[in-house]
Symmetry: C2
Subunit: 298 residues, 2 copies
């Protein structure tokens, strides 16, 4: 139960911060900003911002102010949301349903959804580089911006989505599936953890441990996603279940079967926690988050 | 003739810098990066990077190194190119031809073009925030990143495109046309000029003058674009001419007629040059660029 309370509390912290750090819809750009806000505020687990906050607290405890890390946390969610909006487009995965609600292009049209995604992505970098937000020095903000842009871009999330689409309905080696997972999902999760560490002034060794932790939970996250897609109903997921098998997509279960896949997810979670061996009790939420990623049901 | 030589030389400087600052296509992400490079290397006037370089030189002369401003110059062109790739999509302007070549989605498909645009936009912020590039301090890099993200985003270029699409085939007041121009085109042009100034350590007063200069040439640029669309052939432009009238788009000529529109462009150029009254001869290229924007033929 404890993790549930923690997740709820942190999710509320992030969603309240949207009021401060995400534009309100008004004036000439009202419809466009409405479209951005629609997808950003449509719910979701807020895992990336929560990981960022937990990582900062694992290093600095309560000595780092919320205001210093919330802009980064919100930026991560803007980037994640934009990626969903673009992935759902008719030209990509063509999904009508996301988190139990109509996808962005169903409500705002294709052009509106493309621009809402572009706007969310660009706004993330506005937030990350805004000298007026919080007290982090320019050097930390710049390192955070660079870490996140690398993870979100062509060698990370965007490249992974491109590779995912290019390999649809083809047979490819397991190594390629790992590359897709690492780039499409893993990179931004790892960057969320590293960004929190940079904000909190983590040492080189600590950043290294956080990066390894991020890589392992990123892997676990994607394996569990594959598992859920194969074993849940659409109602449970809030998005189309069984779609991977239908599309003939290579997934962990398609390579290893359900049981072995479950074992691999569990192993990644244990390895993630091992990466935090040198961290004290301030890292407890990071450890709980690793377990949660294995046990989550949607 | 002098401006032609200057533009050629600067364009070559920028295009050579792409080799250093834009990823090569290789490995798993080859096709995706090919798609990005296709549009980035498809030619173009490179006006935004050239303005950025000219602005830095107007302040610091030869005392600022090329390596300190070229990453910013390349990032501006990445952002401009991504906006063209997304604007050309079937769901937006549905253009098959750009700079006399097939548009991105014609060659790489819609999904490929959306992701190429996303990749170029994200790469721009990778470049701007990369601590390894050049010798600008983190504070300057951060201010440049923020200035450009604000101009490229929902209150700038992206918002302007959204408004442009939303108002298609509608009648709207001249004030709305000004908002579209200022946000869709003007904001990134102004940011290009300001970014160069920040890089070169411009004073507050100098940045203010550069901003006013940028606003006036941004205005002139858009008015001339409207004029060229109304008065040139598709062959001269390398993209569809006469498309504004065909789409019933509100433009300067549709409000004021050709002659009065020409006068307004000329006036904006003169005002731009007036903004540089306090600058010495190092600002000569900025003055020539203002004239060029009025006299350009495509």
């Amino acid at each position: 139960m404890e993790i549930k309370n923690y997740l709820n509390e942190q999710r509320q912290l992030v969603e309240t911060a949207f009021d401060q750090f995400v534009p309100q819809a008004y004036g000439d750009f009202k419809d466009h900003i409405d479209a951005m806000r629609y997808s950003l505020l449509a719910g979701g687990k807020r895992i990336r911002p929560i990981l960022c906050l937990a990582s900062a607290r694992a290093i600095a405890g309560i000595s780092i102010e919320d205001q210093d890390i919330l802009p980064t946390a919100c930026a991560l969610e803007c980037i994640h949301t934009y990626s969903l909006v673009h992935d759902d487009l008719p030209a990509m995965d063509n999904d009508d349903l996301r988190r139990g609600k109509a996808t962005n292009h169903v409500l705002y049209g294709e052009a509106g959804a493309i621009l809402a995604g572009d706007g969310l992505l660009t706004w993330a970098f506005d937030l990350l580089s805004n000298p007026a937000h919080g007290n982090l020095d320019a050097d930390k903000k710049l390192r955070i911006t660079h870490c996140i842009s690398r993870a979100a871009g062509s060698f990370g999330m965007v490249g992974g989505q491109a590779l995912d689409i290019a390999t649809e309905n083809t047979r490819f080696p397991f190594k390629t599936l790992q590359t897709i997972h690492r780039s499409k999902t893993g990179a931004l999760i790892t960057a969320s953890v590293i960004a929190g560490g940079i904000a909190a002034g983590a040492s080189h060794a600590q950043l290294n441990s956080l990066e390894n932790y991020g890589n392992q939970i990123g892997l676990a996250f994607q394996i569990v996603d594959d598992l859920l897609n194969a074993t849940s109903t659409t109602e449970q997921l809030g998005k189309a279940a069984g779609s991977d098998a239908e599309l003939g997509k290579a997934t962990y279960p398609s390579y290893f079967g359900i049981e072995e896949t479950r074992k691999r997810a569990k192993k990644a979670v244990e390895e993630a926690k091992n990466c935090l061996a040198d961290f004290d009790n301030k890292a407890r939420p990071l450890r709980l988050l690793a377990d949660y990623i294995y046990t989550r049901s949607h």
